[in-house]
Every structure is written in C-alpha cells, then in structure tokens.
C-alpha cells in the first residue's frame, strides 16, 4: 500500500507550500510528502515577524506548524536544506549538498527575496533585508548596539520595520523614492494622513529621495542621495521591494519571466512541476501578500488530488498595516482616473478619510484611513464589482447609522460564497468558520480564533468573522451579546449595583449566591469588579477582599513578565527633592534594581525588585506608594507654571500636588490620570488625561475624558472656573460621579462617550444640590483610605504570608506509589 503512494516534493517550507500541503492532506492520503526548506525553522507566520520585531510576539508565538505536525502527518522535513535544481529526465530533485530524491510531482514554493538595491556599498556590514527570522534577529541585535537606522522603502514592509525599530529604541528615518508613502496601496490624501500619524509615533521621513550609494568603511555610516545630500546612520534596512525567488526554476529550465510562469492550475512549463505563492507569476502578476497564495493553494491542492475545481483567475488584494493606532485599508483601484466617479469624505478633525471609486456605476476600489469599520463590506463589494445603490451608499458613507439593520442586510455575509476566504492571513473560509460555529457550538470570536485560526494574525478580518457569527447564531447571538459582565452572570453592571444597594448585599460571596452566579466562586473578570462595586457602595464597611484583587493591587506593586516587581514612590505633582532622590538611589543600589525609569507620568519607576524584597524596599524608601499598579489616581502631571515659567499664569506645580494629595488612594473603576498646566501652552498635555486642567489669567479650564492609550481621545472642555476651591470641588464631583456610574475597567474616555458630556455637565454643574451630595460622598470615601505600604509593614502576618518565602527542607519520608 505504502509503496504505491506517489511521491510529492515541496521545495520551500513557507506559508504557500505548507498551506497547500495542509489542503492536500484534507483531500487525500495518496501522497508521500517530502518538504525541503532553506530556513532552520518549521513553518511560521511570516506576517507576524513585524510583531516579533516590535516585541509583542516571540518566535514561538508565530510557529504555524511545529515539528510534531510534520511527524504526525508522516511528512519528511529537511530544514536547513536548499534545493539546487530539478532534473526532469531522471525525475529527481537535487539539493545543494548533493543529495537527490525521486519525485512524481513537485511544488515549487520558494517565495521571494528582499530586493537589495544594486548600488555601491550595498554589501557593507549593517545592511539587512526584512524577510525571515534571521533578519529579524539581526535587527533586534543591531538596536542594542546602534543608534540610528535608515529604512529604504516606504511601503508596508518598510513602515512596519521602521515602527519596530522605533519600539526598540532606535532613531529611524524612512527614505522613500516617491512623494507618497505606500503609493501602491494608498492615494495621495491617505498617504499624507498616514505620514502625519507615523511622524507623531516617532518615525522620521526623507521623501522623494533616491539612494545612490551606501557610504562608510567596512560598516555602513550613511546614505548618499541623487541630489548630493547625505543621511548619517549606522544601520540600514532595505525594504525597497521583493523579487520572486526563481533560482531553482531557472537552472532547471522552467519558463520564468519576473516570476515562475504558471497557468490557472499553477502548472509550470515543466511536466509534473507546479509553483505556488510569491515565487510564481500568474497572468502577468506576481503577488506579495498572503491572501492570493491561499487561493492558489486551494486550487492547486484540488487539482493535484484530482478534485474538480474552478481555475484560479487572480485575486483582488487588500492591505492592512499592522501598526497600532494606524488604521488604513485599500482594495482594488484607488487612484482616480478620468473613467472614475469619485465619492470621498475627509474629516480633518477626526483624522478620517474615505474614498470609493466607481466605474460605470460599479464599485472599483476604495481607500479608508482612520476608521476602517467598513473595510470588510467594502472589500467584498470591490471584489464583486457591485453596483452602487442608495442602500450601500448610506451604509458606507452615511455615518451615524444607529442599528439600521434593514440596510445592513444588503451587505451581510449571507450572500458570501461558502468557499470564499474570510481570513486571508490564515486561509480560513466562510464555510470553515460556519462549521466551527455550528458543529462545536462556538459563540465568541475568541473561540473561533482558537479553533480555526481566523483573526489570529493581522486582525483585519475580525469584523467579517463577527458578522458571520452574528449571522449563524441569529437570535442566539443577540442574547449572547446582551450578556452580563462575564460568563458567570447574565446581569449587567447597573443591574448588579442596583441589586447590591436594593438587597443590601455585603460580600462578593453574598452577591454571587443571591444573584445566582453560574460559577460559585466567579472568575477573574467578575471578582475584581464586584470588589470594586462593593467598596464604592459601602466605603466604610466593605472589607476589601484581597483574594479578588489582581496581583498588582494585592501586592501593591506591578508584576513584570519575569515575576519581579516594580516600585513607584509617590512624588506629588512630579516634584521631588535631592534628599528623596538620594534615598531612591541608595535603595536601588542596595536591592539591585535592574532599571530606574522616568515614567510617562513624571514619576520614578524602580524596575526588577524581587517580591520578598518589596517590604524592605518600601521601608527604606520611607515614601508613600505611588499607586502605579492600581485602578486609582496614578499621577498628576504638572508643568513648571507661574513659580518659574515666564508664561505661567497659574501655579501648576502647587495645584498638581494639592490635587494628588487630595484624591490619591481612592479606588476608581479604572486607572485615572490628571494634569495641571500653568497656561494654555499646555506643556503637561491636559488633552490626554482623565481630568486635564489648564490655567489662564483669571482662573482654570477643566477638561475631561482624554486618553493617550490604545484608543486615543482628546479631552472635552468641561467648564471654566475662577477660584482654586471651585476647581477642587468640580474635580471631586466629577470623580465621584465616575466612581458611582462607571463600569469596572471603563476609562473616562469611554464613560464620557457612553454617558454623554452634557449629562455629566448637567449633574455636576447645573444641579448644585447634586454636586454637594457627590462631594460629600467623595469626601467620606476619601476619609477611609490608608497608605498601603506602611500598612503591610505594620501587619506582620500579612507581610510574612504574602511576601515571605517558604523553603522545603530535606525530604522526610519516602513512599512507593
């Protein structure tokens, strides 16, 4: 039986080759498969190298098929082995080290190589491409010893490389030949907005520059451009393009143009030899993204296994840039020509941009910047060359559509073909997702991700996956999405708080018992939330339940990924003294602190303290906790202000310290940050704080709901006040309202949007009586707080059990089991 199996050899152990093999395995067991790969690794998700570089993923995270997978499927894998040629006469594949293996069929999946510009100096040390794990490691290594990098090429790859290097602490300049970034995916306007945003994220640009030479000695020291100017740098990433890796095909006598020429079934000019992925050229196109290679792989697998298949007729590609805070999307045609009708909307305030191109009334392409919620439907419409209708127009361009489910239907996933690929990164079709949902009873995108891999890589397909889930579950999804605060209850935050107040529930256990939690002891989501709500409702009586606090709040220090902790002492208003600094230095030396870092909120962070040393460190610092770990007031950032600054109109340092002393230690729904500025120059950046305060000649202006994190939001102007007392009162009232109405983990940026600014203003500003009551409750809660570090130091038992070590001594008995 075994001897009968046909021998299939795959050259290239990358994404195209292995995804084709996966498809073949699903269709038939009639092949004896051998895979050759030049790289020393099993197949990994090349796309995610950008995340590895940036530091948010490790190599292990991005492995797609580990060595066990090959073994389990009886596939012979030769890593670190490069194929030299295919001998069609003897029907053998010959490797560079001289081995030769017979075949019945061959799939070439050799991908592409980075295009290294053939200019003088391109072979100097310190010049790399960005294609594989080794390149990635070289870049990470370089960032340790070198300071400034140039990235040649302002396309997707170049920008992701640049962002990664910036995250690694390098100063980076992207050098681009054109005037527009990503000109192969974006139009002029979107490219401008993209550049703006990336500059804000710390990337430098040299646009319209042609690099003619790499200068320096043995190692690169800079770039020279065609206009005679130069750019100094000590590291260069070439990301100017890719070229299909056609080497094996060429020497074997297979027809090659830019890529290996294939027909609609991936057949090359040589009998029994196929090519798939970036190495091939289909109808004149060489692709550089993964979605086409999955489509090609599907067709090839079916063809090779003798299953009827439609021919491959090319792919419509779309792009997503994997840089956080930068949402761009384009599909189809995006540069307008005379034959196009253009629909465009630009919003400079929200930094969004939308453009759709129509040709003969049909949707030919689209570009989105800033807001990409419509990316999924657009991608589909472009692919189908759908006719533009009023419904589609309203849906995509209409803006504030509040649950207009009627119109949504027209774009829904209902009409999508079942074999259509939803997740381009992982080759997951609609059918695979639908089956996973129906057969395994999945109800969340997370589960679908775990089961099928969809949304696992760039995340661009998440909206469609959600729509499919919604479509398949129908009403089931509705009830599911109306679910409670976690999987343990169907109750919402408001319902729970109302029950706590109404029934006088006093402990987490009571809440769970009375309100019929499905898991008797709750989970990591509901327990901290209940602990907060109980503390908020009963500031004096509630006994904080340590076991329901996240480790950081339980131990009053931030856990790091290696299990050590950080210590941030309080420095009111960001002002310290030489004496305190000296003590911080002494303690850091004594306890071997790994890094002393100035935080974004103007405090000092001692990183890398061992758990058992925490109490000693606090004791010797003899300063209050800075609460850097807590859902509480973190910091009040201040500018210099009128004490010293020539522009200052208000004493921002003093006001900052006063506010920090007043509101510290109180529990909030989420972390809380403030800033105080001496004048409208706003040096301490009020606009990104939960409460930001800006001094003016005669008073203060208060801003609320700002955020600088994942979803940045500029704070709204709340009101202006004349006196310091009014300022402190309004802050107190806003804080209390947030504490009483905020959902656990909801930042003020979300809270303000949910409640509406006017509603908050009405409660705090217009209704004086309500303000007084809020203030009273706030003051009462503030009277209950206690400094946590000194509390631990006082309570010996806590200190011993929570921070002390237990050591197992010598074994005392032996048992045979």
């Amino acid at each position: 039986m075994k001897a009968d199996r046909e021998k299939l050899i795959v050259i290239g152990n990358g994404m195209a080759g292995i995804s084709t093999v996966e498809q073949i395995l699903k269709l038939s067991g009639s092949y004896d498969i051998t895979v050759f790969g030049s790289e020393p690794h099993p197949n990994y998700n090349r796309i995610m190298l950008s995340y590895v570089l940036e530091g948010s993923k490790t190599i292990n995270d991005i492995i797609l098929n580990d060595l066990n997978w090959y073994e389990d499927h009886g596939i012979k894998l030769y890593t670190d082995t490069t194929v030299a040629r295919i001998d069609s006469e003897t029907r053998r594949v010959i490797t560079e080290d001289g081995a030769s293996v017979p075949y019945d069929k061959v799939i070439i999946a050799t991908g592409s190589n980075p295009l290294i510009l053939p200019i003088p100096g391109c072979d100097k040390q310190g010049v790399v491409g960005f294609r594989n794990i080794e390149d990635c490691n070289q870049m990470i290594e370089a960032a340790r010893s070198y300071h400034s990098a140039a990235v040649i090429g302002g396309g997707l790859l170049g920008l992701e490389a640049a962002k990664g290097l910036v995250s690694l602490g390098m100063q980076v300049t992207v050098v681009h030949l054109m005037e527009d970034l990503m000109e192969r995916q974006l139009d002029h306007q979107a490219a401008l907005m993209l550049k703006d945003e990336l500059e804000r994220q710390g990337i430098g640009f040299a646009m319209g520059k042609k690099t003619t030479e790499l200068i320096g000695g043995k190692r690169v020291e800079g770039l020279r451009f065609s206009d005679g100017t130069e750019l100094a740098c000590d590291f260069v990433v070439m990301a100017a393009g890719i070229k299909p890796n056609t080497g094996v095909a060429k020497v074997s006598g297979i027809a090659v143009n830019r890529g290996i020429i294939v027909d609609d079934f991936m057949r090359t000019s040589m009998h029994h030899v196929y090519a798939v992925g970036e190495c091939n050229e289909h109808r004149g196109i060489c692709y550089g993204l993964v979605a086409p290679l999955f489509e090609q792989g599907n067709v090839l697998a079916k063809h090779i296994c003798g299953v009827a298949t439609q021919p491959y007729e090319g792919s419509v590609v779309s792009t997503k840039l994997k840089i956080s805070g930068v949402d761009v999307f384009s599909a189809g045609e995006f540069i307008e020509g005379p034959m196009h009708t253009v629909i465009a909307a630009q919003n400079d305030w929200k930094h969004t941009y939308k453009k759709i191109l129509l040709q003969d009334g049909k949707i030919a392409g689209a570009v989105l910047f800033g807001d990409v919620t419509e990316a999924a439907p657009l991608q589909k419409l472009v692919k189908e060359h759908a006719l533009m209708t009023d419904d589609i127009y309203n849906e995509i361009m209409g803006g504030g559509c509040c649950g207009s489910s009627g119109a949504k239907k027209s774009l829904s996933v209902e009409t999508m073909a079942s074999e259509e690929i939803v997740c381009g990164c992982n080759g997951v079709t609609k059918q695979m997702i639908v089956e996973a949902i129906t057969e395994q009873g999945l109800t969340t995108v997370e589960e679908i991700k775990a089961c099928t891999g969809a949304t696992r890589s760039c995340g661009g397909c998440k909206p469609v996956v959600e729509q499919i889930l919604q479509y398949v579950l129908g009403d089931g999804f509705q009830t599911e999405s109306k679910q409670g605060i976690c999987g343990c209850t169907k109750l919402s935050r408001d319902e729970i708080v109302a029950e706590i107040r109404g029934k006088g529930l006093k402990t987490i256990r009571e809440v769970m018992n009375v309100l019929e939690w499905s898991h008797p002891e709750g989970c990591s989501k509901c327990r901290p939330a209940l602990n907060y709500y109980l503390g908020m409702v009963y500031p004096a009586e509630h006994e904080d339940e340590k076991a329901s606090r996240f480790v950081n709040e339980r131990l009053h220090a931030n856990i790091q990924k290696d299990g050590t902790y950080t210590v941030v002492p309080r420095m009111y208003g960001g002002v310290t003294t030489p004496e305190d600094l000296k003590r911080i230095a002494d303690v850091s030396l004594k306890y071997d602190v790994k890094v002393v870092k100035v935080t974004g909120g103007q405090r000092l962070d001692l990183i890398g303290v061992k758990k058992e040393d925490l109490p000693k460190v606090w004791e010797e610092l003899d300063m209050p906790s800075g609460y850097a770990y807590a859902k509480s007031l973190r910091t009040v950032k201040t500018c210099v202000g009128s004490q010293f600054c020539r522009f200052g109109t208000q004493d921002s340092m003093a006001m900052g310290a006063l506010l920090e002393r007043k509101f510290e230690r109180l529990d909030f729904p989420a972390k809380f940050k403030m800033a105080v500025n001496g004048c409208p120059r706003n040096c301490a950046e009020s606009c990104t704080k939960d409460i930001g305060i800006v001094g003016n000649d005669g008073g203060w202006e208060i801003f609320v709901g700002g955020n600088g994190g994942i979803k940045p939001r500029i704070a709204d102007s709340f009101c202006k006040v004349k006196t310091d007392q009014e300022l402190v009162d309004i802050c107190g009232a806003v804080i209390q309202l947030y504490r009483e109405t905020g959902k656990y983990l909801e930042r003020t940026s979300e809270w303000v949007e949910r409640m509406g600014l006017e509603a908050i203003q009405a409660a705090v500003l217009e209704d004086e009586e309500q303000r007084m009551q809020l203030l009273e409750r706030n003051n009462f809660a503030l009277q209950q707080v206690e400094e946590p570090w000194s509390q631990v130091l006082r309570e010996n038992a806590t200190r011993r059990v929570m921070y002390g070590e237990v050591n197992g001594d010598a074994p005392h008995n032996k048992l045979e089991v």
């Binding site: 490790t58 589960e447 990591s524 480790v551 339980r554 856990i559 237990v806 050591n807 197992g808 089991v817």
Partner: protein
C-alpha cells in the same frame, strides 16, 4: 511502574491564605501552592504554560481553578490542564496535610527537569 515520591515539608496550613497562592522552593524548583475555599491545597510547578512563561503563584483562585496572573489563562488546579480556548498543561504535585503540617511530593523524575508542557 514504580515511582519514588519524596515528600518535602512546606510550612503549616496557616502559611496559606484561602483563595491565594504562594511559591515554595524545593531543591531548586519553584512550586506554586494554592489553597481553595473548600480547604484543599494544590501544588503545581510555578511556571505558566503560556509561551512567555511567568509565575503562577500570584494568580487569582476561583473554585479549583487558577487564573494565571500575567495572561489570564485558566488552569485546573487538580490536573494542571489549561482550559479552552488556550492549551497547555502544568505539572502537578501531591500535597499531604498531616496535623496542620504541609508537605509536597516530588517524584524522582523531577530532578531531570522534565518539561511541564505537552
């Protein structure tokens, strides 16, 4: 299948708070010991099966599960299995409580540093 288990003393029961974990050093190995509401103690290797690792002892204990403190993976204290949608396994160890004294059993294979994941 004769396996030798050595028992190492690990303090008294009061050294463990209900619904909390604690790290114990045994011959150079770090073991996380958790005390559940129902009074049992469970011992597991103090290393999360998440690819990025990190300690387990500081996780939140609910019933006979612990939520890993860094990545929130849910792990069954009884058999060390990670709950869906994540996958993995942590090595577990036996715990004896005799007259309030706790000891933790380590099988002899442990010194060879047998891996903790599948």
């Amino acid at each position: 299948m004769n396996k030798t288990v050595k028992y190492y003393p690990a303090g008294s029961l009061e050294d463990y708070y209900v619904q909390m974990g604690r790290a114990v050093q045994i011959e150079g190995h770090e073991i996380a010991v958790f005390r559940t509401t129902s009074g049992e103690l469970y011992a597991l290797d103090n290393r999360s099966p998440h690819p990025k690792g990190g300690p387990l002892a500081e996780g939140m204990v609910s019933g006979h599960f612990v939520y890993d403190p860094l990545y929130d993976w849910k792990i069954d204290l009884r058999d060390g299995f990670v709950q869906a949608p994540d996958h993995g396994e942590v090595r577990t160890h036996q715990v004896l409580i005799e007259e309030g004294t706790v000891s933790i059993g380590m099988s002899s294979g442990h010194e060879q540093g047998i891996g903790t994941s599948l």
